[in-house]
């Protein structure tokens, strides 16, 4: 295999596999910037990935599957918002319970779906005419299922939204200093509901992208920790869309690299007693990047009131 071909495949796969991470991370970013930590991403992604396959199978349409997945994600978001914003429950505990809930739902509901791999409709590659014929860049950037292109668009859109719109300003104010935002007429609770829901819908989209486009089909535990990695990406990216996106694609590539190395003739990776080290690679990389990021930059870019409920009428 030629060197450039290897790199081309690696990058193309990285971008495709990174897209679910990207959606989940961008969604989580919105929720966190509004002041609510949602640790339930893994469960939400699993539940929506399963729902996506099931709905696509039943309706015979991948689009219906995608829609159902996003709705399920949003429902999780509404639940999280109700618990953390209205009832002011502990956000960490609530988020973790969502992981268990989502994992359980996906296992139970997904049991009949295992092995349907080819039967369920899914999103096929959608090469962009003209651009996909470019050397190197064509296969890397322009020969993907459409959700990957949506991922490309989402990054600048979220950036613009946060930095240059009224709604983005309200969002950040609600997460930074809810008392000040409330005094200026921002309905903090409503803002938080909205973005927790929207953020969880992002996880729903991530799950659907995974099970309907990137690796079509359902197996139990399909996400394999990607929900957690997405949370890490938000932190590593310093709550900024572009760094988070780059991280998502990087992790996608590392994921692919694992598979590539398994296919090589290196005996260490072939030995069944040591080969599993390779499967640890994405997670080791996640740990390494988190450590490097926390060493390299002073912490403190997290939204000031992240994780704390807002009680109207308080000014401290």
């Amino acid at each position: 295999m030629k060197w450039t071909e290897f790199l081309q495949n690696l990058l193309a796969a990285g971008i495709a596999r990174g897209t679910p991470l990207l959606f989940a991370a961008l969604g989580e970013m919105l929720a966190e910037l509004s002041g609510v930590l949602n640790l339930g991403l893994e469960g939400i992604m699993l539940a929506s990935a399963m729902t996506g396959v099931a709905a696509a199978h039943l309706a015979g349409s991948a689009w219906v599957g995608l829609l159902a997945a996003v709705v399920v994600g949003a429902l999780f978001g509404v639940l999280h918002a109700f618990l953390t914003v209205t009832l002011r429950c502990d956000q960490v505990v609530t988020g973790l319970s969502l992981v268990f809930l989502g994992t359980g739902i996906s296992s139970v509901g997904g049991a009949p779906l295992v092995g349907l791999r080819q039967a369920a409709p899914h999103f096929a590659q959608l090469p962009i005419p003209g651009l996909c014929d470019l050397p190197f860049l064509g296969p890397v950037l322009f020969s993907h299922p459409w959700p990957v292109y949506l991922g490309f668009a989402a990054v600048p859109l979220v950036y613009f939204f946060l930095a240059h719109t009224r709604a983005g300003l309200n969002l950040r104010a609600a997460g930074e200093t809810p008392a000040a935002a409330a005094a200026m007429g921002i309905p903090v609770a409503r803002v938080r509901y909205l973005y927790v829901t929207l953020g969880a819908a992002g996880s729903g989209l991530a799950g659907a992208t995974l099970s309907l486009a990137v690796t079509p089909g359902w197996v139990d535990g399909l996400t394999a920790g990607q929900g957690w990695i997405a949370i890490g990406l938000v932190i590593v990216g310093g709550w900024r869309p572009l760094p988070a996106a780059l991280g998502a694609w990087l992790f996608g590539a590392i994921h692919r690299l694992t598979l590539d190395l398994q296919g090589t003739a290196i005996p260490f990776f072939q030995d069944p007693n040591t080969g599993f080290f390779l499967n640890m690679l994405p997670y080791l990389a996640a740990v390494a990047v988190l450590v490097a990021a926390s060493l390299g930059r002073r912490s403190g870019t997290a939204p000031s009131t992240l994780g704390r409920p807002f009680v109207p009428g308080t000014t401290r």
Partner: protein, 576 residues
């Protein structure tokens, strides 16, 4: 400034406002009338109900009964937004700004008619006229967290006026400002009033009230004891008497009156100052020959590559009160932190009672006999979530051992706490009540009481009376004085110059982390101290003065003699 007398309906009137909180009648049938172009001072002790009344007018609190009228029409505010829509804006004591956002974003946040996509340049130019009108310059792109308290207040003012506020409510606007910033604020208030804006402001500072207020409402225990009185019809003594009500002890009141400038006596400043100084006994000279109790030698503290303290030396003798004067933010926080062992100096040594404790823990400092009253009442000095007994025993808990190892004797603990609460007249509802139930003044008494209960050899106090009412202030100052008289060495760090001048036997001026001047009590020259605080004569031109400093330099006097000595330790003075 004259009252605009003949404008018939008040712009804002509060009629028979009652606010009831669980167990407390915070406002009891209070009336207040505010006219266009009028500056109205709301005066009263902590907990008198001023804040509650203002919060009613600003839509933050809903009155239990009573009517709020704007321009004669009765209104009912369900939220601060309703009040804003009626032209009422409140500048909160802590400003309520979003620290991480830029100045511009804070001003436009939530304003009506904000377009969905923000064209920030155009928005900024729309706000410029407001700034021009106020005589304020702001850098729109700076994050608010990088601004000084005075600048933040400007942002809050601009934000209010950008919303076309006709009625401005200011909650203790000068409490966190330097005297220089205060003067500028008062000037801005006059300008606004001349423009027809009605201003209601809360203050404890009678001189500033005298200088700007057209009328005064005095509150005591939830009732208005003087309602919308024209300022010229009421004397400072009268206001002081009214605000402390009948509970103030006669002796304390007399002392206070002596120290208050007469209401309309323009040249009363220096005379009053003399009286105040006369009330302080000279340093007893107890330990003139003794070794210093607290000693800092060439202490430098570097944080994030900046020298917060550079080559600072001081030594404290038994029984003396050493005052540190300076505009806040010039290293005071770092100085007290180093003195109390909370921060470790980058270089130099700190010793308490001749023991070198430079790199030791705050516990070692405490055990060496040093007690520390932090300015951060709700963070460093107390734990607001705990109850009063817990807070009273935060430092002394080791002496309250229970029967089993690792336990605390609760009976002894509550006894200890009760003793402090009683001795220091903390108005409270039981030792097991939450700390948040105390007003600021009472909490400060508890904190001071806790520290003094350990009979310290060295007492470090930082901003001990900030935000306190007159009676509490007097109490705290008296306790500090009394403690010094027993031989305790006191380091008093405060940005309230009057307080420092009044209490100190010796004075050092801190500017940008350095001591730029030292005075024995009899040499103290208020003008010189003020100039040094502003960095005028001892300014270090090479370091690139920040804009605050530059503004002050421009504003201040410039014909001062050069600073003679930076040595902080003349050993002879006061030892008579």
């Amino acid at each position: 400034m004259d009252v605009l007398v003949n404008i018939p309906p008040a712009l804002l009137s509060l009629d028979a406002i009652c606010v009831e909180f669980p167990g407390v009648l915070a406002c009891d049938r209070v009336n207040l009338a505010l006219r266009a172009g009028e500056i109205h001072a709301l005066v009263g002790e902590n907990g008198a109900g001023k804040s509650t009344l203002m919060h009613c007018a600003a839509g933050v609190v809903r009155p239990t009964s009573g009517t709020i009228r704007v321009g004669g029409a009765a209104v009912r505010f369900a939220s601060p937004q309703d009040a804003q829509a009626a032209g009422i804006a409140m500048v909160f004591q802590n400003f309520l700004l979003v620290e991480r956002l830029s100045v511009l974003d804070n001003v436009i946040l939530g304003s009506r008619g904000l377009p969905p996509v923000l064209a920030r340049k155009r928005l900024a130019s729309a706000i410029e006229p407001v700034c021009t009108r106020l005589g304020i310059e702001l850098d729109w792109t700076r994050p608010v967290e990088s601004l000084s308290a005075g600048e933040k207040q400007k942002v809050a003012l601009v934000r209010a006026l950008y919303r076309e506020a006709k009625i401005l409510i200011l909650d203790e606007p000068t409490a966190v400002l330097t005297s220089d910033e205060s003067d500028k604020l008062l000037e801005t208030m006059r300008r606004l009033a001349a423009d027809g804006v009605a201003i209601l402001f809360v203050s404890h500072k009678l001189p500033e009230i005298r200088s700007v207020a057209d009328s005064i409402t005095v509150m005591h225990r939830g009732r208005a004891v003087a309602e919308s009185m024209p300022a010229r019809d009421i004397s400072a003594e009268e206001v002081a008497r009214l605000m402390v009500g009948l509970r103030a002890e006669t002796a304390a009141r007399d002392k206070r009156e002596a120290s208050l400038p007469a209401w309309s006596g323009l040249g009363a400043g220096p005379a009053a100052g003399d009286k105040r100084e006369a009330s302080l006994p000279a340093w007893s000279g107890l330990g003139a020959g003794a070794a210093p109790l607290l000693r800092l030698d060439s202490v430098t503290l570097r944080v994030d590559g900046h020298d917060r303290l550079s080559q600072v030396s001081l030594s404290l003798r038994p029984g003396e009160i050493l005052g540190i004067a300076g505009v806040s933010g010039n290293g005071q926080k770092e100085l007290v932190s180093v003195c109390a062992g909370v921060m470790r100096p980058t270089s130099g040594t700190v010793s308490v009672r001749s023991r070198d404790l430079t790199r030791r823990s705050p516990r070692d400092f405490f055990e060496a006999g040093l007690c520390y009253v932090s300015e951060d009442r709700y963070g460093e000095a107390s734990a607001p979530q705990l109850n009063l007994a817990d807070c009273a025993c935060l430092k002394g808990y080791r002496t309250l051992r229970g029967p089993l190892p690792g336990t605390i004797d609760l009976a002894a603990m509550s006894g200890f706490a009760e003793r402090i609460l009683d001795t220091f007249h903390v108005r409270h509802s039981g030792a097991w009540a939450p700390t948040t139930s105390l007003s600021g003044g009472n909490l400060q008494k508890l904190i001071l009481g806790r520290e003094l209960s350990h009979d310290p050899a060295v007492l470090v106090v930082h901003q001990p009376t900030q935000g306190l009412d007159l009676a509490s202030t007097e109490f705290v100052c008296e306790e500090i004085r009394r403690q010094a008289a027993t031989g305790t060495a006191v380091l008093l760090v405060s940005s309230d110059l009057d307080e420092v001048l009044r209490l100190s036997h010796r004075l050092l001026v801190i500017y940008r982390g350095r001591f730029v001047g030292g005075f024995e009590r009899e040499q103290i020259d208020r003008a010189r101290v003020g100039a040094l605080m502003a960095g005028l004569t001892a300014g270090t031109p090479g370091t690139g003065p920040d804009e605050k400093g530059a503004q002050r330099s421009r504003a201040g006097a410039s014909d001062l003699p050069p600073e003679p000595s930076v040595s902080p330790r003349p050993r002879n003075g006061g030892a008579s």
